[in-house]
């Protein structure tokens, strides 16, 4: 498995999940996937199943919690909620991400000017 690529994706996916739960409160996996696709204007097409190992990872780190509940179509579904530690991690990661994004855009923009 090409590790480098997965790592970048994982980190990004983690951040997206945390941000979604931060913005919308408790959601099930389907909801999270839908939200991410909507926000990205369907530019990002997830293999939605890959969300679940990521959700497990976030739970293991105690950044989110999970609880069984009833979904809008009256089915049993697991609802995920962000924790205080998750909020902290989100703030840290978001800042980090913005810094990198700023540097990257400056770097790429500068390159165009030359």
């Amino acid at each position: 498995m090409p590790d480098a690529k997965t790592d970048v994706l994982q980190g990004t996916l983690d951040l997206m999940v945390l941000k979604t739960l931060h913005a919308l409160g408790p959601l099930h996996g389907y909801g999270i996937a839908r939200r991410i696709e909507q926000v990205s204007d369907n530019l990002l097409q997830l293999n939605q199943g890959t969300l679940y190992p990521a959700l497990l990872r976030l739970q293991q780190r105690k950044w989110i919690t999970a609880k069984w509940g009833i979904s809008e179509n009256n089915r049993k579904a697991k609802f995920y909620n962000i924790t205080a530690a998750g909020e902290k991690q989100l703030a840290r990661e978001a800042e980090n991400w913005e810094r990198i994004a700023a540097v990257m855009s400056r770097l790429l923009g500068g390159a165009q000017e030359v």
Partner: protein, 901 residues
């Protein structure tokens, strides 16, 4: 902290097993349902919606697998799974498992045992504080070879201790036997007479009681003793109130002031330690007697060079004041080197030998695994058809070999444990033997070599086996399989290296055995059979007024020996009884100046010749069957008033009178007045003039490995004598039967003199060669192990190749090849392998056996006879190993062989 939560969660997940996956399935189910509903809302048919939902969600199995990997501890889960699988396989092939585990256990066990010895004896620091600061200090005597590490004299020691600027402490000691009386039986105890700062220099304290005080070096206040833990247990029953106890040693009372701890170790073991104090004008306390060992502690920051020049400057100033000290200097060596330097070469050679055994075991195991790969071919093909990739298979094979080697290691550890319990049989061959045990370091070592061994023998076969070659063909072949040419080549290379390794090891053991045989064939110069020996120690009261001018022993001593010897000779079954100042093979001990008067005297004392001196009485020569070569032996006519007579040994006759008869030559055993510094000779001093009356064969007083030194014998009635000589008795039958009647005689003459160190001369002979014998036995054992393993290796490869070539052989025979030519074909294949291995092994052995030169006697490390012998032995083993499969090849029935195709 999140990694910690993760680890905890993963351990929980791992323990939970499949429950989490059921939950995942439910969750995915719900997710899929929501997706489908969404697609239907968008106007898709239920069929299409279901299909699309599945695509969006992704491969279910893959998600599950990834989820599982995230949930638990995949590394350990796979490991456990592989181990369970391995154990199942091993149970299915118990023969293979047993051979592998036993081979490994022998290899790893031998290494573990050897390492724990090396660890206990050599690696572990000496049990003192800052042992690296401790040095042995010696006297050097210019112009005297073999005395680079000589002893010192009490006045020299005291001056060095007082004037040096480089030592934090300097102490001196000498070992002696003393008679302990007061109990029913007198007993001989080993005493170490030490300067008061002995224990503090080493940095140890008695476990109970107190250390010696510096005032206890004064004559008169020296009646104090520190005892060993073992002595305290046996003699005071471990009584805590020992300080009230008194010991009577050589007739003098000593109060016990301390008890050492049980693990206190010194190279000179003792039961009691007494402070060193001298009576005023004691001859021992003079520049005439050099018998003290010294141990010192360097001041922090001082280099050995600084200490060397410091001490030698002091020795020079002593020589200016006392001319008889001319040419005496000081030298030093790390204490560790002095105590353990002797055994290091032997231990290193043995450690090397067991490493070779393990290497050979590894090669054998690798070979075994490759041979097995043929039978496992199908299993591998099925597994890779079911999706196991190359890495996964590799991992399983390596797990398997490490599991095998760890099983072998565990059994090996048990083997090592039991073989180390045999160590006490080695007696005092090894210093610090009580420090040898299986401790944490040894366990770590065993674990490490087990894993390394597993990798060593498992890696190559694993790479080869895991390469999934043509799944289709393998499965279609239906179980018949011939190993690829490259695997067969690899196995051949393994056997060649195995033979090479065995050659090296066998060369080592051959050399050790031949060197030992050489040692046994050395003529000791006497005949040991039927000879009993013991030593006596006469208290100082036998010689109350030592007088340098007196000729011969004082009357009480003379009377004691004459009575003892004549009464022993009256016992039935006794042939000859005699006494000698020290026995053969116990070390060269008593040196004297030697001035033949048939040539000019040397210009100064330090140019004088030296000889070894032995004082004898009775029938010493007759008892030991020391051969008379010329003239006569000393006899009952050599009494104080008779002309002074000496007998010399052949080495002395050869040195001083080559090509002529020494009989009738006149010699001095003490310096003539003209050579003595003015004022040193006592008034009335006149050296005795001895006439050489006989020449006897050379007797080895030192080690059997060394040449006998020039030696002079005189009767103790006519010259210097020893208060602690040995008695030798030749019996008609078993000499040990005489012990109790001799003890009775001794008790009747003086009940305070114990019969000490009772040994037959044969025991002395055998213990003098105990170390080389042990080396020869161990190396011989390792060598035979190597031979056995190499034989099995050759057999395995040839047998396999014969079974592979059955049809070819069948065709050959059908076409008219004779049985003989088939036999020759198979044998020559095996012998080609063996001879390549032998060739490589020879080159290696010639390079490596040089490392053994330190433990060899009388042969060179490249001794041609040994090398030829091991070549022949290995060739025979190789022939045998090939012969069995070759004979099977000749029995191939062409019809049967061809029908297999």
């Amino acid at each position: 902290m999140h990694w910690f939560h993760t680890v905890v969660a993963r351990i929980k997940g791992s323990a939970q097993g499949s429950a989490a996956e059921t939950e995942l399935d439910e969750e995915l189910q719900a997710h899929a349902q929501l997706l489908i509903e969404e697609k239907i809302r968008q106007g898709m048919s239920p069929e299409d919606a279901r299909h699309q939902a599945m695509l969006t969600l992704g491969n279910h199995a893959r998600i599950r697998e990834e989820y599982r990997r995230q949930a638990g501890l995949p590394f350990f889960e796979v490991l456990m799974q592989d181990m369970r699988y391995c154990l199942r396989t091993l149970r299915r092939y118990p023969g293979f498992a047993a051979v592998a585990v036993i081979t490994l256990a022998l290899g790893i066990g031998a290494n573990t045992a050897m390492f724990s010895i090396v660890n206990g004896v050599l690696l572990r620091p000496l049990p003192y504080s800052h042992p690296e600061q401790l040095v042995s200090v010696f006297s050097t005597f210019s112009g005297q070879e073999g005395l680079e590490s000589g002893s010192t004299s009490p006045p020299d020691f005291r001056t060095l201790r007082q004037r040096n600027h480089t030592l934090a402490g300097l102490s001196a000691y000498y070992s002696t036997g003393m008679n302990l009386t007061g109990a029913a039986q007198p007993e001989r105890v080993r005493a170490l007479i030490v300067s008061a700062d002995y224990f503090s220099t080493l940095g140890v304290q008695p476990a109970m009681g107190r250390n010696f005080l510096s005032t206890e070096e004064q004559w008169g206040s020296h009646h104090v003793a520190i005892v060993s833990n073992a002595f305290w247990r046996t003699h005071f029953n471990g009584d805590l109130n020992f300080s009230a106890s008194k010991l009577t040693l050589d007739g003098e009372p000593y109060s016990v002031i301390g008890v050492m701890s049980p693990d206190f170790y010194v190279e000179m073991p003792a039961q009691v330690w007494l402070p060193m104090a001298w009576k005023p004008h004691d001859n021992y306390d003079s520049h005439n007697n050099y018998f003290l060992s010294m141990v010192g502690r360097l001041r922090p920051g001082v280099t050995p060079q600084q200490m060397f020049s410091d001490l030698n400057a002091i020795m020079l100033s002593i020589a200016q004041q006392f001319p008889e000290n001319k040419g005496i200097g000081a030298a030093l060596k790390p204490l560790r080197e002095v105590w353990l330097g002797d055994v290091r070469p032997a231990l290193m050679v043995l450690l090397g030998a067991v490493a070779f055994v393990l290497l050979i075991a590894c090669v054998n195991l690798a070979n075994l695994l490759l041979a097995r790969s043929a039978t496992r071919r199908k299993e591998i093909a099925i597994r890779s058809a079911l999706g196991a990739n190359h890495r996964r298979l590799l991992r399983q094979f390596i797990t398997e070999s490490i599991l095998l080697s760890c099983l072998g290691g565990a059994v090996g550890l048990a083997l090592a444990y039991f073989s180390l319990r045999l160590l006490p049989l080695a007696g005092d061959l090894l210093p610090r033997i009580q420090q040898v045990r299986l401790d944490g370091w040894v366990l770590l070592f065993t674990a490490a070599i087990s894993v390394i061994t597993g990798l060593l023998f498992g890696l190559m076969p694993a790479f080869r086996n895991s390469r999934a070659a043509g799944v289709n063909e393998t499965l279609k072949e239906g179980g018949r399989y011939s190993s690829s040419a490259s695997t067969q080549r690899f196995r051949t290379a393994l056997v060649i290296s195995e033979v090479a390794l065995a050659t090296v090891l066998l060369a080592g053991s051959g050399l050790a055995i031949r060197s030992f045989a050489r040692l046994l064939s050395v003529d000791p110069g006497f005949s040991a059979d039927h000879v009993l020996t013991f030593s006596v120690n006469l208290p100082a009261s036998y010689d109350p007024q030592p007088d340098p001018l007196r000729i011969g022993a004082p009357p009480r001593v003379t009377e004691f020996f004459e009575q003892l010897l004549s009464r022993i000779e009256q016992l039935p079954g006794v042939k000859d009884a005699g006494t000698v100042s020290s026995l053969p093979l116990q070390g060269e001990s008593w040196g004297k100046f030697f001035f033949p008067l048939d040539r000019p005297l040397p210009v100064s004392m330090d140019k004088g010749e030296h000889v070894q001196y032995r004082a004898v009485l009775g029938h010493y020569f007759e008892g030991l069957r020391i051969r008379l070569l010329r003239g006569r032996l000393l006899n009952e006519h050599d009494i104080p008033n008779a002309p002074y007579a000496v007998v010399i040994n052949e080495a002395l006759a050869r040195r001083d009178w080559p090509g002529q008869s020494p009989l009738g030559k006149v010699v001095l055993l003490s310096p003539p007045v003209s050579l003595l510094p003015p004022g040193l000779a006592p008034p009335g001093y006149k050296p005795q003039q001895f006439t050489v009356v006989g020449v006897v064969s050379d007797v080895h007083y030192g080690r059997m490995q060394e040449n006998a030194l020039p030696t002079v014998y005189a009767s103790l009635l006519q010259h210097d004598f020893s208060l602690s000589p040995s008695i030798t008795i030749r019996a008609a039958g078993d000499p040990t039967l005489l012990v109790s009647s001799i003890r009775g005689i001794l008790a009747q003459i003086d009940k305070n003199v114990p019969m000490a160190r009772v040994m037959t001369m044969n025991e002395i002979m055998s213990s003098s060669v105990a170390q080389p014998r042990l080396e020869a036995i161990l190396l011989g054992f390792f060598g035979s192990l190597a031979l056995l393993l190499a034989g099995i290796g050759i057999y395995g490869v040839i047998a396999y190749s014969v079974s592979q070539r059955t049809s070819e052989i069948g065709i050959r025979m059908a076409l008219g090849a004779s049985r003989f030519s088939v036999l020759r074909m198979v044998l020559s294949q095996g012998l080609r392998l063996a001879s390549m291995g032998l060739g490589i092994g020879l080159v290696l052995a010639l390079a490596l056996t040089r490392l053994m030169s330190g433990i060899l006697f009388g042969i060179s490390p490249t001794d041609p006879a040994t090398f030829v012998a091991i070549l022949v032995i290995l060739a025979i083993i190789a022939l045998l190993a090939c012969f069995l499969p070759a004979r099977r090849a000749t029995r191939v029935d062409p019809m049967v062989a061809l029908r297999y195709e």
